[in-house]
C-alpha cells in the first residue's frame, strides 16, 4: 500500500503529472473574481470565504480524472486488481494520494489567496481548518466519480456533472464554517457537520468506489 502511495505521488509530482496545475488554476480563479464583481474591498472581503472554497473545489475537480486514467490506459489498474490488495484499499490509497498531491497544496495556498481577496484576519484560521477538514471528503467523493467514469473516453465533463452535485453538502458546511469564522460567529455546528460528512465519506465511499472499479474492470 505504501509502495503504491509513494509511486502515485511520485508520478503526480513529476512533470506532466499536473501537480502544479491545480494550484495555478486556483490562483487564476481567485484572481478572476475581482474582475467579475468589481474591486470594492468590502464586497471582496465579504465573499472571500465562499470564493476561496469554490476555487479550491474546482481546482480539486480539475485533477480528478487523472486519478485512474493513466493506470487504466497502461493496464496497471488491471494488475493492481490482481494484486493481493483489496480493491477498497486501492481506492483509499488513490484518494489519499489525490488529497496529498492536489488538495493539501490548495489548503496551504488558500491563506495567501485570502490576502488577495482581503479576507478578514479572524477568518484565516477557520478557512484553513475548514478546508483541511473538508477536502478529504472532496477527494474521496471525487475518487468515486473518477471510478465511475474510468472506462469512458471523454469522461471529464461527465465526471464534473456527476461529482458536483455530490459536493454540495461539503461545500455548504465548509463555506459556512469559513464565512462564520471570518465574521466572528460561532462555528461549532457547521464544523461538526463538516467533520461528520468527511468522516462518513472517508469511511463508506471507498466501498462504493471499489464496487464500481470491479464492475468497470470486468
Amino acid at each position: 500500500m505504501i509502495a503504491l502511495l509513494t509511486r502515485d505521488m511520485r508520478l503526480a509530482v513529476r512533470a506532466g503529472g499536473g501537480f502544479g496545475l491545480g494550484l495555478a488554476f486556483f490562483l487564476i480563479v481567485v484572481v478572476m473574481v475581482p474582475f467579475g464583481v468589481g474591486p470594492e474591498t468590502a464586497l471582496l472581503s465579504r465573499i472571500a470565504p465562499g470564493v476561496l472554497w469554490i476555487g479550491a473545489l474546482l481546482a480539486c475537480l480539475l485533477s480528478l480524472d487523472r486519478i485512474f486514467a493513466l493506470d487504466w490506459e497502461d493496464g496497471s489498474l488491471d494488475l493492481l486488481a490482481t494484486a493481493p490488495l483489496p480493491m477498497e484499499a486501492i481506492a483509499v490509497v488513490k484518494a489519499l494520494a489525490h488529497w496529498l498531491t492536489s488538495a493539501l497544496p490548495l489548503v496551504l495556498a488558500a491563506p495567501a489567496l485570502g490576502v488577495l481577496l482581503n479576507l478578514p484576519p479572524a477568518g484565516y484560521l477557520w478557512l484553513i481548518l475548514s478546508l483541511a477538514v473538508g477536502t478529504p471528503a472532496l477527494s474521496v467523493i471525487g475518487t468515486f466519480g473518477a471510478a465511475l467514469t474510468v472506462g469512458l473516453k471523454r469522461g471529464g465533463l461527465l465526471l464534473s456533472l456527476l461529482v458536483l452535485p455530490l459536493y454540495v453538502p461539503t461545500l455548504i458546511f465548509g463555506a459556512e464554517v469559513a464565512r462564520r469564522g471570518a465574521e466572528g460567529l460561532a462555528v461549532a455546528t457547521p464544523l461538526a457537520m463538516l467533520a461528520g460528512i468527511s468522516a462518513g465519506a472517508v469511511a463508506l465511499l471507498p466501498f462504493a468506489s471499489a464496487a464500481v472499479l470491479r464492475i468497470n474492470l470486468r
Binding site: 465511475l148 467514469t149 461527465l158 456533472l161 456527476l162 452535485p165 453538502p169 459556512e176 460528512i197 464496487a211
Partner: protein
C-alpha cells in the same frame, strides 16, 4: 403467482401491454377532471387570488419528482440484489420522467413565486433541494447514456443512485441549515388536522392521482421500449458474431 414473475421481460411486456390502455385512459381522465375542476370550478384564495390554481400542477409534480427518485432507488436495489434486468431498465425509464416532473415543479413554482413573493427565484431550502435533485437526475441520465455495455451501465447507475440518494438527503439537511426559507410548510400530510381547505383538497387529490397514473403509464411504456431496445442490441450483436 409471485411478484417476481414480472421480472421476466416477456411476461412484463405482455402484462403491461394489457394494462397500458386502461392506465393511460384513467390517467388522462384523472388529469382532465382534476385540472379542469381545479381551473374552472374552484374559488380564488382570499390571499393568493387566482394563483392558487397553480397548486394542481405544482404539488403533484413535486410529489412525483421525489417519488420517481424513490422508485429508481428501489429498482436499483432490486437490480443489485436480484439481478432482474427489467428492474434496471425500469429505473432507466423512470429517470427522464422524474426529471420532467422536477422541471414542472420548478417552473410552476417560479411562476407562482413571482406574484406571491415578488421574485422568480429565492435560494429557499425547498427550491434549492429541488434544483439539486434535478442535477442528480441529469447526472444519472448522462451516465446511463454514456456507457455502451448494458449491464455495466445498469450496475454503475444503480450504485450512483444509492450514493446519490444519501447525498441528496445530506444536501436537504445542509440546505435547511444554510438558509431558512419563504416556502410554506407541507400542503398535505397525514398527521395534520387541517390540510388545505376542502374546496382545493378534492380536485388536488384527483390531479395527484392523475400524475401518479401518468407516471406509471409512462414508466411502463418506456420500460417496454428499453426492453425491446436491449433485445434488439443483443440480437444484432449475435448476428455479427454468427
Amino acid at each position: 403467482m409471485s411478484f417476481w414473475e414480472y421480472a421476466n421481460p416477456v411476461k412484463f411486456i405482455r402484462t403491461t401491454d394489457r394494462l397500458l390502455p386502461w392506465l393511460s385512459v384513467t390517467a388522462v381522465l384523472c388529469l382532465a377532471v382534476g385540472l379542469i375542476w381545479g381551473f374552472f370550478f374552484t374559488p380564488d384564495d382570499f390571499r393568493q387570488g387566482s394563483t392558487v390554481k397553480i397548486i394542481y400542477l405544482h404539488v403533484p409534480s413535486a410529489l412525483m419528482a421525489i417519488n420517481a427518485w424513490l422508485m429508481m432507488l428501489v429498482a436499483s436495489i432490486i437490480w443489485i440484489v436480484r439481478r432482474h434486468h427489467v428492474s434496471a431498465l425500469a429505473a432507466r425509464a423512470a429517470a427522464p420522467v422524474g426529471a420532467m416532473m422536477t422541471v414542472i415543479a420548478l417552473a410552476t413554482g417560479a411562476i407562482w413565486g413571482q406574484p406571491m413573493w415578488g421574485t422568480w427565484w429565492v435560494w429557499d431550502p425547498r427550491l434549492t433541494s429541488f434544483l439539486i435533485l434535478f442535477l442528480f437526475y441529469l447526472g444519472y441520465i448522462a451516465l446511463w447514456s454514456a456507457i455502451e455495455d448494458d449491464d455495466t451501465a445498469a450496475d454503475l447507475t444503480s450504485i450512483l443512485c444509492l450514493v446519490g440518494s444519501v447525498f441528496a438527503l445530506l444536501s436537504r439537511y445542509a440546505v435547511l441549515f444554510w438558509n431558512q426559507g419563504l416556502h410554506q410548510g407541507a400542503s398535505l400530510s397525514l398527521d395534520k388536522e387541517e390540510n388545505v381547505h376542502d374546496v382545493f383538497y378534492f380536485p388536488l387529490l384527483v390531479s395527484i392521482a392523475g400524475f401518479v397514473l401518468l407516471f406509471i403509464a409512462l414508466v411502463f411504456l418506456r420500460t417496454q421500449t428499453e426492453i425491446r431496445a436491449r433485445r434488439a442490441r443483443a440480437l444484432q450483436a449475435r448476428e455479427r458474431l454468427a
